[in-house]
């Protein structure tokens, strides 16, 4: 048995497909690919899939990570890439196939690119994040409303042109960039149109998750 880690992008129309649906989608893709997939041995055998970190609905990504198992130990990784690419739609590109280095549970942060309608909006947003008063409102799983000041949590902010790149905590303690934009919208009193892309995942000591 061999563990395989696939890095892929998720773009275009596929960003309307939720995390749960991605699981079913990849189950079918793996079946179609003809790869020697390892199946679970229960009543309903299915491929054993693990996504490193769910992606919010509506987000694009250039750094999605999926683990599964092959039954052949020496199956070439290049062949995995070719066979998957052959059956995937245009909205998914396989960037890299390797063997897992870190465990998915060790993810600590994620990088995002937020594309604003113009440079002015991006600049104002970056400035807002630096005010030391970034108050987000979110619904907890119990349905309560939680209000929190999160300036401390923001790991890094970089702006160039109309794009703001953020590194935010992810994994156990998540901070969704759309909550920052909502807070910004509220402060500015208007709705900004923002395109979200997840650009990277990081493990301990902010090393790129591999």
């Amino acid at each position: 048995m061999k563990n395989v880690r696939v890095f892929f992008s998720k773009k275009g129309r596929l960003r309307f497909v939720s995390h749960l649906d991605m699981n079913r989608f990849f189950t079918r893709v793996l079946r179609k690919s003809g790869l020697p997939i390892w199946y679970t041995e229960g009543f309903n055998p299915h491929p054993y899939l693990t996504f490193a970190l769910p992606l919010s609905l509506g987000f694009e990504s250039i750094y999605e990570v999926l683990d599964f198992r092959l039954i052949e130990d020496d199956f070439p990784l290049e062949e995995v890439k070719n066979k998957l690419s052959a059956v995937l739609p245009e909205y998914v590109e396989i960037i890299k196939v390797s063997e897992p280095v870190m465990k998915a549970g060790k993810i600590t942060a994620a990088g995002f690119s937020l594309c604003f309608e113009n440079e002015k909006a991006a600049t104002e947003f970056a400035a807002f994040l630096a005010t030391g008063n970034v108050v987000i409102t979110k619904k907890t799983k119990k349905g309560d409303i939680k209000v929190e000041e999160v300036s401390e949590k923001i790991i890094s902010v970089k702006r160039s042109n109309n794009e703001v790149c953020l590194v935010l905590p992810a994994g156990n303690d998540n901070l969704n960039p759309s909550l920052l934009v909502s807070a910004f919208n509220q402060k500015q009193g208007r709705e900004y149109s923002v395109g979200y892309t997840r650009t990277a995942l990081y493990g301990q000591s902010n090393l790129l998750f591999e």
């Binding site: 129309r13 309307f16 497909v17 649906d21 079918r28 793996l30 179609k32 609905l57 509506g58």
Partner: protein, 614 residues
């Protein structure tokens, strides 16, 4: 429409996966390189429509042709419709996202009467005049097919052409005629007159309906050379009929999320309440190797891990044993599971049960339909109580602890005795379970009893029968509930008011078009969804139009009454339905097509079960 803006709006509503398109297997063509664009519309949500086999067959069948691009359109859910109207987004097709208004054909499939308001609403959302008479160009031809086309008089005002029967051939003939008419600069009226001459094509505007003083139909007269009766089309050789090698595979979960393989069309049984059993006659089977190889192709191309065999009664397939062996020879290796819906009680052998057990343990469902032998004879459901009980015994012995039974309430000649029979039958099944010496210890039995309300349908022996009133439906439901005395039996039923409205439209005539329009104005859409259905608004609409709905649902029709669908010919004669109706009232059964021919008329195609050796 600007794609970016549209996609931002997707994210403001529930389940954007319903509208985004781009699924595996969806067909993209260059719109400048095709002659005909066809918008295939399903008047319900994406999840319901994408589960429909007929749409999958016709979608692929049309797209095989280089000169046609067929795209899919579904009814947007209420939240997205609101967003669309607020932002001036017209109804669009999923593949190209082009407005439906840009299409040559706008085709609807009519699967149930309760979708009529959605059909009209979709035309409105597309920005088209809803009435056929107000669309005068040779463009945006609105066509409709499916089972409800057998009496689509209530929506005749909105539709240009109905296709009767199976569409694989006739639809393409009409598309070809359209191309030719378009090339020669003909008008829509000229096109419709020519189309009406093709067998299976019903152009409602070419038929004038007159009424008697008592409100019944006096006559339906064809004009401008249209035929007196329109006969349905069927595919005679099922092995050679078109079957898709690929399905569009949705990203989001849909109602039936699996590969579907058709095994035959029609039904030999002749249950007297069942419209499908008569509309799709005669029975025509596919051969086991064709089925098995088509099923395998589908699983490989879609990546589905489950395949379901589709027909009206799976266990009536003559070579089921051979077919299952054939399928099981590759499904195990490919890790595909098989599901066999629509099994009948009387030919449910232990061998078959063990094969299904081998496949996957799921719930067992049976449809005795009525609680007493007398009433089962009336409806020609040729099943005995002994068969029902024996089957449950086999199922319990095989490890099942729950069964689900389907019944109908309000069948012709039904008495309280028959309703009590439902509760008694369920109790006997409970008793069988507890009489088993080796039943699983500590496990209780669950007998689910699901009761729907009988709706008399056109093209059945019960097309003459009155439906019971809403008050009577409720009384009988309450009575039945009082008969069930154990918690091992769980009772559930359909809402009485939906069945009532379905009964009105099933046998309605053209005057109901005004009611549909009025109800839509009051906001009635998605009527088959309990959270949307509003009977009060419908009753207001009826009263504004001066129409008594019970005239259509609760009235006994005489055998010699001109029925609104008498000018449509589904190859089963009215004389046959009259004979069958009389037999029903005598509680006399009719053997199935394989045992003896009942002379229904469906042998006119020269194919199918009618010509099997008996």
């Amino acid at each position: 429409m600007d794609n970016k803006k549209l996609e931002e709006l997707f994210l403001t509503v529930q389940k954007p996966g319903r509208y985004c398109g781009g699924e595996q297997g969806s067909v993209i063509k260059d719109k400048n390189k095709v002659d005909v664009r066809f918008a295939f519309c399903f008047p319900d949500t994406y999840e319901v429509g994408m589960s429909h086999l007929g749409m999958k067959i016709l979608y692929s069948c049309f797209n095989e042709r280089e000169d046609i691009w067929c795209e899919r359109v579904f009814a947007p859910w209420i939240d997205f419709e609101k967003v669309m109207r607020e932002n001036g987004i017209p109804l669009f097709a999923l593949e190209s996202r082009d407005p439906v208004k840009d299409f040559d054909f706008i085709g609807f499939t009519l699967q149930y009467e309760m979708s009529y308001t959605n059909v009209v609403n979709m035309l409105d959302l597309a920005g088209l005049p809803i009435k056929s008479s107000e669309r005068n160009e040779l463009n945006n031809i609105v066509v409709a097919g499916g089972p409800c086309a057998c009496n689509a008089e209530p929506i005749a005002d909105f539709i240009d052409i109905f296709f009767l029967g199976e569409g694989e051939e006739v639809d393409l003939q009409v598309i070809d005629l359209y191309k030719e008419c378009k090339k020669n600069g003909l008008t829509k009226a000229q096109f419709l007159e020519k189309a009406a001459k093709i067998e299976g094509v019903y152009v409602p505007s070419l038929y004038e309906v007159s009424y008697k003083a008592d409100g019944t139909v006096k006559a339906v007269n064809p004009k401008n050379g249209a035929p007196k009766t329109v006969k349905k089309r069927i595919i005679t050789d099922m092995d050679k009929s078109y079957y898709p090698k690929e399905f569009v595979v949705p990203y989001i979960e849909i109602v039936h999320d699996r590969a579907v393989q058709e095994i035959y069309r029609g039904c030999i049984r002749g249950c007297r309440f069942c419209q499908a059993g008569f509309l799709y006659r005669p029975v025509r089977e596919k051969s086991p190797d064709v089925i098995s190889s088509q099923a395998k192709d589908l699983c490989l191309s879609t990546g589905y891990d489950e395949i379901s065999l589709s027909s009206l009664s799976t266990s009536d397939y003559t070579k089921l044993e051979e077919l299952l062996n054939n399928l099981l020879s590759w499904t195990d290796e490919e890790k595909v599971s098989l599901s066999l819906p629509s099994l009948r009680i009387d030919n449910f052998s232990p061998e078959l049960l063990s094969k299904i057990n081998h496949i996957r343990k799921s719930g067992l469902t049976f449809a005795p339909e009525a609680g007493t032998q007398r009433l089962r004879d009336v409806i020609n459901k040729n099943i005995t109580e002994k068969e029902i009980l024996d089957t449950c015994r086999i199922a319990f012995a095989g490890g099942h602890t729950s069964v689900k039974l389907y019944f109908m309430l309000g069948l012709p000649t039904e008495t309280d005795e028959d309703l009590k029979g439902i509760a008694d039958l369920a109790q006997k099944i409970v008793d069988i379970y507890y009489a088993m010496p080796n039943r699983p210890k500590g496990r209780s039995v669950d007998v689910g009893v699901s009761v729907s309300t009988f709706v008399p349908k056109p093209f059945t022996p019960f097309q003459f029968e009155p439906q019971i009133t809403r008050e009577e439906i409720v009384r009988r439901q309450n009575y039945l509930r009082s008969c069930v005395t154990t918690k091992k039996v769980s009772l559930s039923w359909h809402d009485s008011s939906t069945s009532f409205l379905e009964g009105v439209f099933a046998r309605g005539d053209r005057r109901l078009g005004a009611v549909i329009e009025a109800a839509l104005k009051k906001g009635c859409i998605f009527d088959s969804w309990t959270e949307c259905f509003n009977l009060d608004k419908w009753l207001e609409a009826f009263s504004e139009c001066g129409i008594d709905p019970e005239f259509y649902s609760c009235r006994q029709r005489e055998f010699d009454e001109v029925l609104p669908w008498d000018h449509l010919d589904y190859a089963v004669s009215k004389e046959f339905f009259i004979r069958q109706n009389k037999l029903a009232h005598e509680a006399k059964t009719t053997p199935n097509c394989r045992i003896a021919c009942a002379a229904c008329g469906a042998n006119c195609y020269g194919e199918g079960v009618c010509f099997e050796k008996r």
